[in-house]
């Protein structure tokens, strides 16, 4: 096998999980697992995740990007996405990264629900630290926001010539089938503070309700990055989310540790 700096592969049970391993030029000194968000946010942040992975690899960090079951290039349908399985996939991916990088200490990064998954998996995956970008900490609010956007989508004149029926948009969130179990799981989601150092990168609008105090009260901190990220703007639903400040913030945090 050639030593490609960026290697796509499948791993995990039945080789059903897709991963992209970014190997640094020399033996890695640190390792970062990048947990993606779900749904359209996964697609919108794909480019940024790649840019961040490349920036970290250039700093000597081994990076694994991956897709959960039912998302991205991994096996499974969108309706099969399950919260507990996402956590389990993150644990599996952390093991894969340890094996490939030859390091035990793994830092997790995640945006939105990817941050929530990283926080939720922190104990089982033995993350040394979690860096969460605008993580979802209150599932009720998140589900309500998605439901609101999905309802608006039904009659979005920029997208459809005539409004669609309620049945046409049912049981979906912004392009993806949504299983009843995931909806319930997310509605009950309350992210608890992990037992590891946590850095929350906050780019939500100033009036957004989720605040992070409880997450970082013990061993963490919040850093603001700007400009605010338009996560919930229906008009930008298919526009990539790019953020140089985010890359700088994560790279900078890992440099502090070097």
């Amino acid at each position: 096998m050639r030593n490609d700096p960026e290697l796509p592969f499948f791993f995990g049970a039945d080789n059903g999980l897709f991963g992209m391993y970014h190997a640094p030029a020399s033996s890695p000194r640190r390792a970062v697992l990048m947990c993606p968000p779900l749904g359209q946010e996964l697609i919108r942040t794909h480019r940024l995740y790649r840019q961040l992975a490349q920036a970290l690899a250039a700093q000597g960090v081994a990076v694994l990007r991956f897709d959960y079951h039912g998302t991205g290039d991994s096996a499974g349908n969108s309706a099969e996405v399950d919260w507990n399985r996402c956590i389990g996939d993150a644990v599996t991916a952390a093991g894969e990264l340890r094996s490939r990088a030859g390091l035990d200490r793994v830092v997790a990064f995640g945006a939105r629900l990817g941050g929530s998954i990283a926080l939720g998996a922190a104990d089982r995956a033995r993350f040394a630290e979690v860096i969460a970008w605008d993580p979802v900490v209150n599932g009720d609010d998140y589900v309500a926001a998605l439901d609101t956007m999905q309802a608006a989508l039904r009659e979005d004149a920029d997208r459809f010539n005539v409004p669609r029926s309620h049945a046409d948009v049912a049981e979906q969130w912004l392009g993806f089938d949504i299983g009843e179990s995931l909806r319930k799981q997310l509605m009950g989601l309350r992210v608890a503070p992990p037992n590891v150092p946590t850095l929350v990168l906050d780019s939500l609008p100033a009036d957004a309700t989720p605040r992070w105090e409880h997450l970082v009260s013990r061993r963490g901190k919040v850093a603001a990055i700007s400009p605010p990220t338009p996560w919930n703007d229906l008009r930008r639903l298919e526009a990539a989310i790019l953020s140089h400040p985010l890359i700088q913030a994560v790279s900078g945090r890992l440099t502090e540790d070097a």
């Binding site: 697609i43 459809f160 046409d168 993806f176």
Partner: protein, 277 residues
């Protein structure tokens, strides 16, 4: 269960793609799906994943991949124009699928800029025996303008709004959605000549246009208005889906599109064994 395989491939090992090769599919027509706009190879709302897996189940080898500099693919270097780069990338993709599945002939599938890229390659590469153009080239015809403007011109409410707006000295227009995808125009005569050449050498074409491009296309008749009599050729199938958006955000629309492509393939490129009929 058939497993997909991930590849880094290409003349500079700069491309990334996922191949699905069903058992016993050696030598079948291979289906290659190109990027839609800047979305990585999984496609808008995972369209390309759903499409390739359904085609795998029907017996077709598939490859969804990222063109140079899109998704996870890097640049190849070499100072090629973008058109040359696209042709070289698809050539790399066809070679990979030929190597993995023994494919000699290929169907290209592309949405929007993907349709444009599929068109470019299909016009010149004899290995391409079919193409699915989703919201590809389109031109505002006289018919389009009549269908678009006439109802508006005859709508009293619209006139009243217009006059109120003028009397009020205008105002700030509602900002339009940010364009995400766009097909750069090519000369219409050139596109017609390409289509004519494609069917002349035996290619099968499937043009599927959505209501999401109503700024330039608004009726099934417009295929004929845009491209002339070549649209009547038996090798050409057209479908206008007025109710859908450009990127098939609703899962029902997406499923119907995928079924439509699968049905078109089964009619035009039936798997030799017919095992998954």
């Amino acid at each position: 269960m058939m497993r997909e395989e991930a590849f880094r491939f290409g003349r500079a090992r700069h491309l990334v793609g996922i191949a699905g090769v069903p058992e016993g599919s050696a030598g079948e027509t291979g289906v290659i799906v190109l990027n839609a706009g800047l979305v990585h190879r999984i496609g808008p709302f995972r369209l390309h994943v759903e499409l390739t897996r359904q085609l795998n189940a029907a017996g077709y080898p598939t490859l969804r991949f990222d063109l140079s500099t899109l998704g996870d693919s890097g640049a190849s270097g070499g100072g090629l124009t973008r058109t040359q780069q696209v042709c070289a990338d698809v050539d790399d993709a066809m070679k990979l699928l030929a190597e993995r599945a023994g494919c000699k002939n290929f169907v290209l599938v592309g949405l929007c800029s993907g349709a444009q890229n599929a068109h470019t390659v299909a016009a010149s590469d004899p290995r391409v025996s079919g193409a699915v153009f989703l919201d590809g080239y389109a031109y505002r015809t006289l018919g389009y303008k009549l269908r678009h403007y006439l109802p508006r011109a005859l709508d009293p409410a619209r006139w009243a709004r217009f006059l109120r707006h003028r009397a009020g000295g205008g105002g700030t227009d509602k900002p339009a959605s940010e364009p995400v995808f766009a097909v750069a125009p090519a000369p219409r005569e050139e596109v017609i000549a390409d289509f004519t050449g494609m069917v002349g050498r035996g290619m099968k074409l499937y043009l599927v246009y959505s209501g999401g491009i109503s700024y330039c296309f608004n009726h099934a008749r417009q295929f004929r208005e845009c491209f002339g009599k070549v649209m009547d050729h038996p090798a050409v199938t057209t479908s206008y889906r007025a109710e859908t958006d450009h990127t098939y955000i609703l899962t029902g629309d997406r499923a119907r599109l995928v079924d439509g492509i699968g049905g078109w393939l089964a009619r035009n490129f039936p798997p030799a064994t017919g095992r998954h009929a």
